[in-house]
Amino acid sequence: MNLLWKLLRQHVSVFQLTGFFLANLVGMTIILFGLQFYVDVAPLFRGGDTVFRKEYLILSKSVSTLGSLFGSKGTFSEKEIRALGQQGFAHGVGRFTSSLYEVSATLGMEGTGLHVGTEMFFESVPDAYVDVETDRWAYKEGSRTIPIVLPRNYLNLYNFGFAQSRGLPRLSEGLLSLLHVGIRISGNGLSDRYEGQIVGFSDRLNTILVPEAFMTWANGHYAPGRKAAPSRLIVEVANPADEDIVQYLQAHAYEVEGDNLDAGRATWFLQILTGIVLAIGILITLLSLYVLLLSICLLLQKNMQKMQNLLLIGYSPFALALPYQALAVGLHLLATLLALGLARLLGSFYDGSLSALFPAWERGEGTLVWLAAGTLFVAVSALNAVIIRRSVARMWHPS
């Protein structure tokens, strides 16, 4: 091998091989870094910021101008709810039950003289869907106190919008739970006073919530014989970015509250971006491969006489191709390993900011990146080896 390499290495251009190596390194780094970024960031869109958290979608029917004019109710029928529950993505479906009676509330804080009165409404969902952890979220028949959960949005709207502009004090959640809300419920010829107690704030449910137990009792008591058809549903799903969900919702003209589905769109854009980055990386890798093959073909041309003589004294084309194949594959292997390292290094630049933004974030599985690096290495090496082998085989006959 030593003597053979002594002959074959002549005319090896360090300049050209360096060119290949750098181009290959850049191409591979872009590919592997693109993949790694995708693997790292995609879970943020897909699974929220915690891996095993349940995700909920709140569905309603589109409110259209025509529908409004012709008195379409926009409520979900039993059949529709059943069909939705049978979808693969739906792990559970809960209904929003609206109050069928009149509710008015007066809000006051003792000692401040502040009293506000308003007409309002209640809604309820099954307790399992309520994202407020408290033992006060219970209603016993006959009790005059109703636990209430408000959307956190309302508090934010007051604190950061209204209170800010009017120079009013901001209210903490703890302070608000001290509020006495006077509630008057009337219907079915009855009218009773209750006391509302704010027990928590919900990020998920954008409504004024009371326990389902109270709602069932109150609807029966103040509006007997009437049935509440839900106009909104809450659906538990594993992955809100699931494409099936988007398709199902579009097919049935259901609308989704909040931005959960935006994650699906963001994922889609991320995929497109990753695709573009990967395409650029693959292009550069292919170009680098082209440079290498040109360089080696030139080398073979320059060493043609020598190689023909070697073939004539009994060396096989295989034996002559081997050193060049080893050179190409070795360089490619080095570039691949370095690219893996570089991709890791580049990844560490966003590690910090991602961890700060999403505390639960963890680096994605490296399997895909390793797999891609391995596949690319094998594919490019095989291509190299075949082309070199063929070039050498062509020297067999002088013509």
Partner: protein, 203 residues
């Protein structure tokens, strides 16, 4: 054949049917340009621009695959090229080693003996490009002996050698061919390798 347009060619080889046997020692004599080297190239499988058929033991050599040729050139068929085909950047010894490493046929001692017999022992470490043509011819000859062979082709082996060296080469060749029971085919344009030829052909 090479001279198919020239219908008047008078030759013992071209446009004829003939065979070489193992153990034979055949001299092919011809003027320059009558196709000696072409003949060697055809038999050695280097060129195939001829008409007609060349067979090794009934097998048409056009049907031999690359790996079969590689095997033949390592185990059955040796050649001393007219243009030597040495590697000028390698030393005389390395040129020989390059072949011997493939076949592991000769021991170091045997090779040293060959170098000594042919009077180039002192040139072993000199790059081939820096020694005379006559010395190069001897290096190429030693290389041709670094393999087992049934036939050895020597294309004008003594064109640059004096009488004494030609005799030494002939002795080595005869010894080697006899030991292997091989056939020898030598070409010449006048100056001959001094051997006992069993057959002389005029190209």
């Amino acid at each position: 054949m090479v001279f198919k347009e020239q219908t008047q060619v008078v030759s013992d080889v071209w446009r004829q049917e003939l065979s070489f046997q193992k153990g034979e020692c055949c001299l092919v004599e011809a003027a320059s340009g009558t196709g000696k080297s072409s003949l060697c190239s055809y038999i050695y499988g280097w060129r195939d621009d001829y008409e007609g058929t060349i067979c090794f033991d009934e097998r048409d050599i056009r049907s031999l695959r690359t790996n079969e040729w590689v095997h033949l050139r390592n185990a059955s068929l040796s050649i001393l090229f007219q243009d030597l085909r040495l590697f000028p950047e390698l030393t005389a010894w390395d040129n020989v080693e390059l072949k011997n490493k493939l076949t592991h046929y000769k021991t170091r001692r045997q090779l040293e003996h060959c170098f000594e017999c042919l009077g180039i022992a002192d040139k072993r470490r000199v790059p081939v490009g820096k020694i005379s043509l006559g010395q190069q011819q001897r290096v190429a000859f030693i290389r041709a002996l670094c393999q087992p062979f049934d036939f050895i082709l020597l294309d004008e082996p003594v064109s640059h050698l004096d009488e004494a060296n030609a005799t030494a080469m002939a002795a080595l060749l005869q010894e080697e061919a006899a030991a292997q029971g091989a056939g020898v085919l030598v070409t010449s344009i006048g100056k001959q390798l001094p051997m006992n030829y069993t057959k002389t052909l005029h190209l």
